[in-house]
């Protein structure tokens, strides 16, 4: 998922510093440039923009588990439970690796691969889009 942000420069003066962030696609900022540089809503930088290729291919023999749907990513079946998988967890094709919640329905996502989890790519409770990489697996 990608969000535009706004121009980045640091304006230093004796009283205060204003910092505005610029987006990676070079789009113009929707900032009012009338008087002083406005204290504008700074957006958190999101995950890599869709850009030219869908995602950077995993190095060597690692493969990625990609999101088959749009929703909110959860690492555990409930807030009190332990995460389904951690780095180093062995998975099989039927292993549930996470939940993606869409429209109030909790969907269990299966690994569909055999190997070891080497990376968890999304933070808990963050939104994910179709095709977004969720985990890296080293097959065995």
């Amino acid at each position: 998922m990608r969000k535009n942000s706004i121009s980045e420069f640091e304006l230093e003066n004796q009283v205060f510093k204003i910092k505005m962030k610029r987006g990676t696609n070079g789009g113009g900022a929707a900032v009012s440039s009338e008087d002083t540089p406005v204290l504008t809503y700074v957006q958190p930088q999101m995950a890599a923009p869709p850009a030219i290729s869908a995602s950077v291919p995993a190095p060597s023999n690692e493969l990625e588990i990609k999101s088959p749907m749009i929703g909110t990513f959860y690492r555990a079946p409930s807030p009190e439970s332990a995460p389904y998988v951690e780095i180093g967890t062995e998975v099989h094709p039927e292993t549930v690796v996470c939940i993606i919640e869409a429209m109030k329905v909790m969907n269990e996502i299966k690994a569909e691969a055999k190997g070891v989890v080497t990376q968890v790519m999304i933070e808990n409770a963050k939104p994910v889009e179709f095709g977004q990489p969720l985990f890296k697996i080293r097959p065995n």
């Binding site: 998922m1 990608r2 969000k3 535009n4 696609n25 789009g27 929707a30 869709p50 850009a51 030219i52 869908a54 749907m69 749009i70 929703g71 909110t72 869409a102 429209m103 939104p127 889009e129 179709f130 095709g131 977004q132």
Partner: protein
């Protein structure tokens, strides 16, 4: 006021909607398939969510994914554009039940006009003329023959669920009627999942004239004049203009009559937001209701130029619950506007689609020239969707000026790397009958067959 809107579409109309939102200070969310990752609407929106693979059935038609995307981005409303889910009453219902406003007509109005047979019945109820024809669906060939005898040949057999010019057959006698009845039914079943057909009098050399409608949630409905869309190729519009030269030159009184009829249809359906009532007009100035399109249309810009009213902005305001700000008498028509659809097709190879990478792109400009397009140099047109890459609109103080500007603008429009219909559009603009404003829906067929004849004669 909406704070955030999700645009459930792609291409030029998604760009159009994003522009209207930006001008209203509304943040935008684009949805896109994997094939559209580099599309302009994705670049322009504030946020973008990938919703699936290239095929529309895997992405732009996926109600579940679109609503999920709307939920995680927490939008207030969805604009469906045209095509895809724009006239899908179920989608409108799902949005509303998820507390997301649907920027378009209410689902009841959509259902009141859900197919052509139902719409015909509604028009009759509203006292608006429809082409003589069957009462509803024609069940068997005996009934078909009875209807044809009553209204007289030639007749047209039409699929009730048809669209985009498909599912139609003309019959000139009993034999072709029976044959056409059965083939139309099986075609319709295959293409639309609904074999229902009805029969209408076939009006020869018809003119296609449609009226733009706006309605608020207090029951007020106005029309914004007509668009003449008779220049079609295989029932797909190619050039549109407003006002209609047929009305201006021959049947001036039709504007008021047809405008009133359009409003009656919309009122009968309790219509809200933007819509278009389509009519056919014969050479004697008789008009008949065809169908109502329950969405913003491709050719909406020409109405915007002639009335000075931003239709997409109006859609958003109406969806927010605002009342219409114009009464019918407030609507003024000034000047003349023409639109040419620019398709990635090869006019010299039977309009074969020409997807691929645009190398060089220079769009025309200057006074009275408007381009609504998502194309840019380096953009690769995906093969998964329709071939329209943009719309060129010109506006002048009269038809002559609008035409001169269109020819001038077409001559400047440079797109390399793919084939486009720009040269074909120029041929239309230069045609003497077009310039005189004398044409019907047979225009392009005649233009093309004349062109072929010349080619053959040249080669002989």
């Amino acid at each position: 006021m909406f704070e955030k809107v999700l645009v459930a579409n792609r291409g030029e109309i998604a760009v159009r909607i994003i522009r209207a939102c930006k001008e209203l200070n509304i943040r935008t969310v684009a949805i896109y398939s994997e094939a559209d990752a580099n599309s302009m609407h994705v670049q322009l929106a504030d946020e973008a969510i990938c919703i699936g693979k290239a095929a529309a059935s895997e992405s732009y038609l996926r109600i579940d994914r679109i609503v999920s995307a709307a939920e995680i981005t927490d939008v207030d409303a969805i604009h469906p554009g045209y095509g895809f889910l724009a006239e899908n009453a179920h989608f409108a219902d799902v949005c509303e039940s998820c507390n997301i406003r649907f920027i378009g007509p209410n689902s009841r109005a959509m259902n009141a006009l859900e197919d052509k047979a139902v719409s015909r019945a509604l028009a009759k109820k509203a006292g608006v003329p429809t082409p003589p024809g069957s009462e509803g669906v024609v069940e068997n060939e005996q009934d078909a023959l009875t209807v044809a005898k009553r209204i007289g040949y030639p007749v047209m057999i039409k699929a009730v669920a048809g669209g985009g010019g498909r599912g139609m057959r003309v019959a000139h006698n009993d034999i072709s009627l029976v044959k056409g009845f059965h083939t139309a039914r099986s075609e319709a079943e295959k293409a639309f999942g609904n074999s229902g057909v009805y029969i209408e009098k076939f009006i020869e050399n018809p003119h296609h004239v449609e009226f733009q409608i706006l309605g608020d949630n207090r029951g007020h409905i106005i029309h914004l004049g007509e668009r003449d869309c008779s220049i079609q190729r295989r029932n797909q519009k190619v050039v549109e203009e407003s006002p209609s030269p047929l009305i201006d030159n021959k049947f001036k009184k039709l504007r008021e009559k047809m405008g009133k009829a359009a409003i009656k249809i919309a009122e009968e359906a309790n219509y809200t937001n933007a819509g278009t009532v389509e009519f056919i007009v014969d050479n004697n100035g008789n008009f008949y209701f065809l169908e109502m399109n329950k969405r913003i249309q491709v050719e909406h810009p020409i109405t915007e130029e002639v009335t000075g009213i931003d239709l997409v902005r109006y859609q958003i305001m109406l969806a927010m619950g605002e009342p219409l700000r114009h009464s019918q008498s407030d609507i003024q028509f000034k000047g003349h506007a023409i639109e040419c659809r620019i398709n990635a097709e090869d006019p010299f190879d039977d309009f074969r689609p020409s997807p691929g990478r645009i190398e060089m792109y220079y769009q025309p400009g200057g006074r009275g020239v408007r381009v609504d397009s998502h194309a840019y140099a380096g953009y690769t047109i995906p093969s998964a969707y329709d071939s329209m890459i943009g719309k060129l609109i010109t506006y002048g103080k009269d038809r002559r000026e609008a035409m001169d500007k269109m020819s001038r603008a077409l001559s400047e429009y440079m797109i390399t790397g793919i084939k486009t219909t720009i040269s074909f559009q120029q041929a239309i603009l230069q045609d003497p009958n077009f310039r005189r404003g004398v044409y019907s829906t047979t225009f392009i067929e005649q233009l093309l067959s004349g062109a072929r004849r010349e080619l053959i004669e040249e080669k002989a």
